[in-house]
């Protein structure tokens, strides 16, 4: 994982769901955090798009369900893959 992207993704997740910083050490994934349900997921997608200046294509939305995959997809979009 890219440490800089990982850190920004973690902060974006915590900000989106109004979680304290200590929650950033836990397993950050959909269904595992209060608020990260269907509506929360789309709020997070919008926040991530603003944070990183990317636009996730619709087919990627179901993939963005945990830290590792979010970081991987952002990395891929930013490097034009």
């Amino acid at each position: 994982m890219t440490p800089e992207i990982e850190d920004r993704v973690r902060k974006t997740i915590l900000r989106t769901f109004n979680l304290p910083a200590e929650d950033g050490m836990t397993d950050l994934r959909m269904g595992g955090l209060p608020g990260w349900d269907s509506l929360g997921h789309m709020r997070l997608v919008v926040e991530l798009e603003e944070e990183f200046g990317v636009a996730f294509p619709a087919y990627l939305l179901p993939e963005l369900v945990d830290m590792e995959r979010i970081v991987r997809e952002i990395d891929g979009l930013q490097s034009g893959q």
């Binding site: 269907s38 509506l39 294509p57």
Partner: protein, 391 residues
């Protein structure tokens, strides 16, 4: 007086119908409305006499409705699971007036219809054939009330997601004075029931908008492995001026096959139901497609919820062309709710995690309308698979 409002951006073609369906709820004072079909960024509307003071409020609500629909919208990625469309339909008349002329259909009011013996026979036949699929998958028959508790709909987040379609139920307060007062003034004034709202009890129940909610509540606080059932029920969704013949009823009948269990169990069953349905509709010689879809959430985050449903393949609809209207009608759907109802009703699986749920649903009156719109009302011209079972 006529008014016009400019939207911030054009409504995309695929959202025009959804946008127009929301306009009847803007204001009771709005008599007519239409979207400029070329630019799709301007709405003209007329208000009731004396209601012109509301023009600016109505205008801002129309703009707000468009904004919410477009907020966080993504380019649609519609998936087509099956396309069995037939060209050159042999029948293209509107079956409604024909059915009314032969006393098979009777309109009581907007969204409320009665059916004659042939239509009842046809609807029952469709239901039996769907039931045969349920039986094949060992899904026992259940029955649920038409009334549904407000507590249950609140748990299912339905009250907040689809407020405009709710049908509340009330009764008089257990108070002799209130009952006598109601009996004294109650009557029909030509447009509405005259009564004093103070005599009504607070609302505990609504008319059920769906069948499967009752079953999730039935399983509340239980640990289960996997289960499948079927049930048919009357469902109620108020749709204002959008109610139109058998296409969009306020009071309709829905047959559901419901699956509860692990994610893979539910998804496997949904896939099997899609295959079974394709075979069934082919036997009925219907023209149809099965495509990904989203629910008409009436919330600020409509676009987000719709995008989520589409992206996660949560809903597929059976769309049958209505030749007389040159448009498609959704006659059924295949739904996957993930663990939403498992969480909402605390239903857990063997690993203590919330169960996943899914359902296959058929709007039986709509199935009948699609069949009659495509094959006509003359039973001698119906496909043998149906004709042979109708007396």
């Amino acid at each position: 007086m006529n008014h016009s409002v400019q939207l911030k951006s054009a409504i995309p073609p695929e959202l025009v119908e959804e946008f127009l369906k929301r306009l009847p709820y803007i204001s009771e004072s709005m008599l007519e409305y239409d979207l400029n079909t070329d630019s799709r960024d301007q709405v003209r509307f007329a208000l009731r006499t004396g209601g012109d003071d509301l023009a600016s409020i109505v205008s801002s609500r129309i703009v707000e409705t468009a904004d919410k629909l477009l907020k966080t919208r993504r380019a649609p990625s519609v998936k087509v699971l099956a396309s069995h469309l037939k060209r050159n339909p042999s029948f293209d008349a509107d079956p409604h007036p024909i059915l009314e002329s032969i006393d098979e259909l009777h309109r009581y009011g907007a969204g409320r219809y009665g059916f004659g013996p042939r239509l009842v026979q046809l609807i029952s036949l469709f239901d039996r054939e769907v039931c045969a699929i349920a039986e094949k998958y060992s899904a026992p028959v259940h029955q649920f009330p038409t009334l549904i508790g407000a507590d249950l709909l609140d748990r299912a987040r339905y009250l907040r997601s689809f407020p405009s379609s709710l049908t509340m139920v009330s009764h008089l307060r257990e108070d002799m004075g209130a009952i006598q007062d109601f009996a004294r003034i109650a009557g029909w004034d030509g447009e509405r029931l005259i009564y004093n709202p103070d005599n009504l009890h607070s609302i505990q129940c609504l008319l059920s908008p769906s069948v499967c909610f009752h079953y999730y509540s039935w399983l509340k606080d239980r640990a289960i492995d996997s289960v499948r059932i079927t049930a048919v029920g009357k469902c109620f969704r108020y749709e204002s001026r959008n109610m139109d013949g058998l296409e969009r009823l306020w009071d309709f009948t829905m047959r559901e096959i419901i699956f509860v269990g692990a994610s893979q169990f539910v998804l496997d069953h949904r896939d099997r139901m899609i295959d079974e349905t394709v075979a069934l509709l082919d036997r009925w010689e219907l023209s149809f497609e099965i495509r990904s879809a989203s629910d008409p959430f009436f919330i600020d985050d409509y676009a987000s919820m719709a995008a989520f449903q589409l992206a996660f393949d949560l809903k597929f609809e059976i769309l049958a062309p209505l030749p007389y209207k040159r448009k498609d009608l959704a006659i059924g759907s295949f739904n996957y709710h993930q663990d939403f109802f498992g969480r909402s009703f605390n239903i857990t699986g063997p690993n203590s995690a919330p169960v996943h749920t899914g359902c296959t649903a058929f709007g039986l009156e709509r199935v009948a309308l699609a069949f009659l719109a495509q094959h006509g009302v003359d039973s001698s011209k119906w496909p043998a698979a149906i004709r042979d079972q109708i007396n």
